[in-house]
């Protein structure tokens, strides 16, 4: 039995090594100036002078501060609105019995299978008609109702004993007050999990932000990186590309490594990207 386990672990380690290769190359190429056009561009064995020249050039030829700002604003904005919409709706499904409840819930669930990117053609028309084309608000709008967030909050609320809110309601609190002061603090683990998944998924969105914006001032990290690499790629400034990619990938990776357990349990708990 033991040898079987050890063998499995060894095989997994070998496979994991393969999985790590793109990241390893990215770091190596990013930290080696003048690597473009050199013989050992593809080498995974670190040699030669290391330096930050590629990062400097990536930083100056791209617009990373702008892209970071836009991405942070976008993700924070979406999350803020989502917290409100999913908490309210989640409560309604968890605690209230009203006609057509199951039907409406199914309508919500269906949205999980229709991410905004599939409906990009009509959604573009919609945000243009609302005057939101080429704005961060326009990118954020289709995400503000999150079906799986609603589902998650429903589960979370259901798991909280009714006693707490019943007591509050007896005391004369309105439902809104109950939700805000009693339930949300108790539901924090679920909300945190949702927040992690929401930010991760919107941080990495590409196609919808690409189509919903056109001016470079509205670019988020993903769109900025794509234009950055397409420009530098026509000759292949690989060191700079690697550095730029590292700058885009770094925030979430670092956050993950630091808060690993939280991330993992959130991703699993909520069940969607």
């Amino acid at each position: 039995m033991k040898s079987g386990r050890a063998l499995a672990l060894l095989a997994a380690a070998a496979a994991a090594l393969l999985w790590a290769i793109p990241f390893v190359w990215m770091l190596l190429a990013a930290f080696r100036p003048n690597v473009t056009g050199s013989e050992d561009l593809a080498s995974l064995v670190p040699t030669g002078p290391f330096g930050l020249a590629n990062f400097a050039e990536a930083w100056t030829s791209g617009h990373f501060p702008l892209w970071y700002l836009n991405t942070i604003l976008l993700c924070a904005g979406i999350l803020a609105v989502q917290c409100v919409t999913v908490s309210l709706a989640g409560y309604a499904f968890a605690r209230l019995r009203f006609p057509l409840r199951e039907t409406v819930f199914t309508l919500f669930l269906l949205q999980i299978l229709l991410p905004p990117v599939v409906l990009v053609v009509p959604n573009l028309t919609m945000i243009t008609q609302l005057g939101l084309y080429d704005s961060l608000l326009g990118i954020a709008a289709p995400y503000c109702a999150s079906a799986f967030g609603v589902f998650l909050m429903r589960q979370t609320f259901r798991a909280i004993p009714r006693d707490f809110e019943d007591a509050a309601l007896t005391d004369g609190a309105t439902r809104l007050q109950t939700i805000r002061h009693v339930l949300l603090p108790l539901a924090r683990p679920g909300l945190v999990a949702f927040a992690i998944v929401s930010v991760t998924s919107h941080w990495n969105e590409f196609l919808w932000p690409l189509m919903a914006t056109s001016s470079p001032q509205r670019q988020v990290l993903t769109v900025g990186l794509a234009s950055f690499t397409s420009g530098a790629e026509s000759g292949g400034e690989w060191g700079v590309i690697a550095a730029g990619t590292a700058l885009v990938a770094a925030p979430l990776v670092v956050a993950f490594v630091l808060f690993q357990r939280r991330f993992v349990s959130s991703l699993v708990f909520t069940g969607l990207k």
Partner: protein, 439 residues
Amino acid sequence: MSLKRLFAAGALTVSLGFAHAAQAATDIDFFFPVPVQGKLSNEMQRIVEQFNTAHPEIHVTAVYTGTYDDTNLKTRAGVQAGHPPALTLMSANFIREYAINNDAIPLDDIIVKHGMKPADFLGLFWPALRDNATENGHVYGAPFQNSTPILYYNEAAFKEVGLDPDHPPATWQEWVDAAKKLTKRDGNNVTRYGVEMVTTYDTLGWLVSGYTMSNGGQYFNTAYGGEVYYNDPTTIGAVQFLDDLVHKHKVMPEGVTDANAVANAFFTGRAAMIVNSTGALSFVRDNMKQPFRVAFIPRAMRNAVPIGGASLIIPRGNSPERQEAAWTLIQYLISPEIAGGWSRFTGYFAPRVAAYDLPAMRDFLAKNPDAKVAIDQIAFARPWFATFNTVAVRKALEDQVQAVLSGRIHAPEAMANAQKAADQILRPYVERTALDMPE
């Protein structure tokens, strides 16, 4: 009219003039693509800053918008959303489409307003460029940067196999012979290809149009955007030539190779000759460690190359003030000094003929003979392929040629397919124009 009245009128005019100048600066945005970000993009920003300083009544925000295709998409999106850029540096072969769809304004009126005839305006530029800048007799674009494909070749590799670097291949036959000598094999693997060229979307169509024209053909109807000549012997012959390079002479890799791969191959000595735009010349110069030179694209029946590059257009939907400001910027950018400077910096050739009379340019050409090749080739340059729905019609050919390069189909069948697909795309336009009969 009494003297008093004259004086009053004069004073009024002068004061109005002052009032105008005292208004807030006109804010305009300028979309521009460049093939390599970083160096070129920064240089454009610098030029625009210079303009802003020299023209305080206008404030230009220069916006790098990616590739030619991306810039096209972004400009069109801006026009349709109602806030177009004031000026765009648009790929020269998209201008016809903008004219057809009325997404850009003809420049005739503004040219005349500033004291010139449209024909004279066009006369400022090399003849080969004029066709892509006009549609239906109206001027739509002011050429700013132009290129042709050229042949880059590795001098050391030439000497190694006994070829004379001073006499690069001038005909297709010489090209094949040279490529065969330059291709190195190690058993079954090729360690160095004789020739590589960029065969991804956009560049492939550009190159094939050149080979077709060199093979005696016209490729597309330069006077009318509804006809292409894919299924003609001249085009089939050009595609057959490429097919042979890959499958018969085996001097070119199979499949589609993009700009990355081609540049990388040239820099690392895995390709002895490459076909790429002159716009990449300064980039190659910076990164190629071995000695290299450039030459005309070899000819079949005649020397012929397509022009590439971009012209300045003013999209529809801008106010008269913005149009005026944009025109001032155009004048600045196409001045011999600026056009010449940009050319020296990038490797594009300057579309403005007068730029080559300036001493700075003459000195530069004396010191950098490789830059002169593109200019000498202008004598053989022909218009860039432009039709109704250019991108789709172009892709109709490119998809087929890519299949040929990958060994899936032969040239005659491929071109028949391409023609059929292209005709279908052009059909709506043709039915409204050439086939639209009077009642």
